[in-house]
Structures are given as C-alpha cells and as structure tokens.
C-alpha cells in the first residue's frame, strides 16, 4: 500500500514539474478567475430581485448561489474528465507504452495522473472564491469547511467511477465518451447549477431528483453558504457514498476487462 501511494505521488510530482515549466498560465488563470467572478457578480446584479431571492433555496443572493454552483460543477467536470484525458495524453505523447512496461499498473498510472488535475481544480476554485470574497462580498465566512471537504471528497469518489468508465470507453473505442458529455449536459440543466430545480417542468424535476449531482450541489451550497454541518447534510453525503460504493468497484472491473480486451485485440496503445 505504501508503495502504491508512493507511486501515485510520483505522478503528481511529474505533473507539478511539467506545469512549473509553464510560468504564465498560473497568472493567466488567476486573471481569468477574476473576470469569471466579476461576470457572475454583474449578471447577479442584473437579475437580482426580492422574488428571485425568495425562490433560491438557501435564501442567498443569486451571485453566491450561481458561483457556488459553477465552482462545484468545475469539480464534477474534473472528476469525469481527468481519467480519460490522462490516458489520452499518455497515448498521444507515446509515453503510455514505456509507462506500461514499468512496475506500476495502469490503474495506479491513471489514479496518479488524476491527482494533479484535482489539485489544480481545487486551486482554481480557491482563487475564484478568493476573488469573489475579497472583491464582491461572497459570504465565505459562513462556510463550514469540514463539511465542504466532506462533500467534495464524496463527490470525487462518486463521480470518479464515471471517470474510470470513461477511460475504459476510451481504451476500447479510441474516442471520447459521449456518456460523459450527456451526464454533464443533463446536470447543467437538471442538476441545479445556475438555477433551482423547482423552476423546471415536472418531468425535468423527476430527472433532477434521480440525478445525484442535484443532491451533491445542494449539500455543497448548504456547507459553503449556510455553514451546514456534516450531520445536516448527512443524507446527500450518504447518497453520494452509496453511488460511489456501487460505481467505483464496477467501473474498476469494467476497466480491467477493457484493458485485457485491448491486449487481446492489440489496440492498447492505438490512437
């Protein structure tokens, strides 16, 4: 186990080292986050009204509601996207084959390669929220950080399974996973990212209630904007963990099968 953790860290170290050779993107991303936070602030100013505040579940400003939804969605995107992207990069740069003849297994390579993107997403979210708090009075002081962390971890575990499935699909079919875009697409409408699901037509509300993203989003807003403790967001947390308990092991089984299949068909490193 210690060796696996050490191997995973090697990939994080590698990605950090590669990222450090690009200097300006860090600054550019910080500037982009500033403009992004400003955009949410001014859109919120434009649409804000007492009726809208009334309609928002947490009774907060639309700025806080929408920005919390957006940064959480960024995390969800990272969980769904990272595994197949790291696999695709390794394949396209020709590093997949040399990696596969080392003593590290492909699942460890994938998990290790996911760490830096998750860390980078966390940093980007922190910068977004930092700008929003400093310049636009985003209510960060109310946040219960332990609960925020718990929601993020549960979300990562729940959706990493879909990310691994996406990587399995890429292994088998050599192209991006349409299911991933479907999930992100559905969740952006029926997941409560920028507006409460209560304004949706009844049939879409049913979709939203079947979508674990809706619960994760509610839990995140509760922890971040209302300071809700772990006990009060226990139900969505448990739901996410149940989702992870089913999806993670099954996705690993499917990924292993796909890997074996590509070793049979000879398409493992094909582009």
């Amino acid at each position: 186990m210690r060796q696996i953790l050490r191997d995973i860290f090697l990939f994080f170290q590698r990605d950090l080292r590669i990222a450090s050779t690009y200097r300006s993107p860090f600054i550019l991303e910080a500037v982009e986050a500033l403009f992004g936070a400003a955009m949410f602030y001014y859109v919120a100013q434009f649409v804000d009204s007492p009726a809208l505040r009334e309609a928002l579940p947490q009774g907060k400003t639309y700025f806080a509601y929408s920005l919390a939804g957006f940064v959480f969605f960024d995390y969800l995107n990272a969980a769904l996207d990272t595994f197949d992207r790291s696999l695709q990069e390794a394949r396209d740069t020709g590093t997949l084959e040399p990696l596969l003849v080392t003593q590290v297994s492909l699942p460890v390579i994938l998990i290790g390669s996911a760490f830096y993107p998750f860390a980078a997403t966390t940093l980007r979210i922190a910068v977004y929220l930092g700008w929003a708090a400093v310049l636009f009075d985003f209510p960060l002081r109310a946040a219960n950080w332990l609960a925020v962390l718990a929601v993020l971890l549960a979300t990562l575990l729940a959706f990493a399974g879909l990310g691994v499935l996406s990587a399995a699909y890429l292994l088998l079919f050599k192209r991006g996973n349409p299911a991933k875009w479907f999930i992100l697409g559905v969740s952006s409408v029926a997941g409560g990212m920028l507006f409460p699901v209560s304004i949706l037509p009844p049939w879409l509300q049913v979709v939203a209630h079947l979508n674990p993203v809706t619960y994760a989003m509610d839990a995140m807003r509760g922890a971040l904007l209302d300071g809700a403790g772990i006990a009060s967001i226990g139900r969505p947390l448990l739901l996410l963990l149940a989702f992870a308990a089913v999806l993670l092991p099954s996705s690993i089984v499917i990924f292993s099968w796909s890997l074996r299949r590509t070793k049979i068909t000879g398409t493992l490193t094909h582009r």
Partner: protein, 272 residues
C-alpha cells in the same frame, strides 16, 4: 544448468481485422482472423543474445510486445525468467528492459535526466542508484549536456539513446530491444553495439532478444538468430550454422534462401 531466460511454447497471436466507421464500435469484440505469430517455440538461454530477423510484418514486434506484457497471446504460452507473461505480468516487468521501435515517448517539457529519473522511480529504483546509472550510462552514450535539456529540444537520435538508456537503467535480466539502432547515426550505432557486446552481454547475466534489419548488427551481437516469416519460425540457429545449412556466404543470403525473398539477387535458385 540454469533455467532458460525466455521460453516460447507454441505461441500464437491472431489479431481481429481493423474496422472503421460505425463498425469501429464492434472492434473490441471482433474475432481474431489475421495471424501474426503461428506456433512459435523457442528458448533463449540466460546470458544469450538472440536476434529476430524477418521482413516487415513477420511478427518480430508482436513477439517482443507479448514478452513486454503489452499483448496477450491467443494460444500457447510465453514465459520470461520463469514467469508467465499473461498470468504474472508484474513479475515479468520486474525482469525486463524494453525499448520499442516506435513511440520513444518522453515528456517533452521535462529534461532527459528528469524523464529518466521518473521512469527509474517507477521501476522502484532509489534516487542514488538512478543518478549513478544515469551518470555512467549518460557518459557511455555520450549524452553530455543533452541530459539536462528538455526532451522537446532533442534530436531523434538523442531521444533514441535516452530510450535505450531507460531500458538499461534498472539493470534488467532480459533486454527486449526492437530495432535498437534504427535512428542512430553510424558512429552512435557502432558505439551502442560495442557497449552491448562488451559491457552487457560479456557479463553473461543479461539475456538479449532484439529485432533488427541490420545484418552487421546481428552478426556482431547474436549467438543465435530466429528467422521469422509471416508469423512462422523458419529457422533458429547460430549465424554460422544458418549459413552452412543454406550453403550461403552471408547471413543476408541465408535469410533470402530460407524465406524465398531475394532483395538483390532475384532469380537466383534456392537450395532444395
């Protein structure tokens, strides 16, 4: 007597046909119809150097990739240092140094040294050991300052030398090299062959299985030569025995007579 380093037992590999368009979705489930290796049986002794000689598509790379655990055999078995490549891939990878003929992948934004250190760590080498091996082999391969330049700035020949260094860094028991000198200039190629001969094979503790189209390389390095044609093993013997058996004056001629391929002497009769 020590166990063979490599044992191939009736090894077969068949690939499915390449499907395109919407039928690409059926590719992972397509039945294998194209033979790449057909019933290959041979043994490579410990400390022995064996060359795989054959035309393009003869099955050399497929064979090396099965031993490198990148492919699973369709039938038969391949074992390396006593470990089955299909059932014990991790144990096999512990024993091998693998150099692919293509895709000499390195991280473009990392230096040669950083790349080698990374792969050394993935082979669970200590940083001290890696650093010492990179220093020794880097000097031997005349990599000099290129080791500290980003891989994206290096020539294809230098990348090839880095790839060979990567295959050797952990002192593997079995070296699997696919066209090891393909992108090297004449001097670097001669230098590498000399290194393999005097500093790797001379120790008799490392076995070498390599694919090559360079007869001079095969003559210099190989104790025995496996001649493959369309996935079949046509002959497996020492270069001297192959020449004698085919009444040839060179290995190239022996190869031509055994395979019926005549690159320079079309029409010349082959021995019965």
């Amino acid at each position: 007597m020590s166990d063979p380093a490599i044992i191939l037992d009736s090894l077969e590999k068949w690939f499915p046909p390449a499907l395109s368009g919407w039928r690409g979705f059926l590719q992972p489930f397509a039945p294998p119809t194209s033979p790449a290796l057909r019933g290959i049986s041979l043994e490579v002794k410990q400390g022995e150097a064996v060359a795989l000689l054959g035309a393009n598509g003869a099955g050399k790379t497929t064979l090396l990739r099965i031993l490198g655990t990148l492919l699973l055999p369709t039938r038969g078995a391949a074992s390396l240092a006593g470990h089955d490549t299909a059932r014990e891939p991790t144990a096999v990878r512990r024993q091998i140094g693998y150099h692919a003929g293509s895709d000499l992948g390195f991280y473009a934004r990392l230096t040669g040294r950083q790349n080698l250190q990374f792969f050394g760590r993935l082979n669970h080498l200590s940083d001290e050991f890696s650093a010492s091996r990179i220093k020794t082999l880097g000097e031997r391969f005349r990599l000099g300052r290129d080791l500290d330049r980003q891989a994206r700035t290096l020539s294809s020949g230098t990348i090839q030398r880095l790839s060979l260094l990567r295959a050797l860094i952990h002192q593997p028991k079995v070296l699997l090299l696919d066209e090891p000198t393909r992108s090297l200039d004449a001097i670097a190629a001669a230098d590498f062959r000399h290194f393999l001969k005097t500093e790797v094979l001379a120790r008799k503790d490392t076995s070498l299985l390599f694919a090559s189209h360079t007869m001079q390389e095969i003559e210099l390095l190989a104790d025995r030569v496996a001649i493959l044609d369309e996935g079949k093993l046509l002959a497996f013997d020492t270069p001297t025995a192959l020449r004698a058996r085919t009444l040839s004056t060179s290995l190239e001629e022996a190869f031509a007579r055994l395979t019926g391929r005549h690159p320079y002497s079309a029409g010349e009769p082959t021995p019965e």
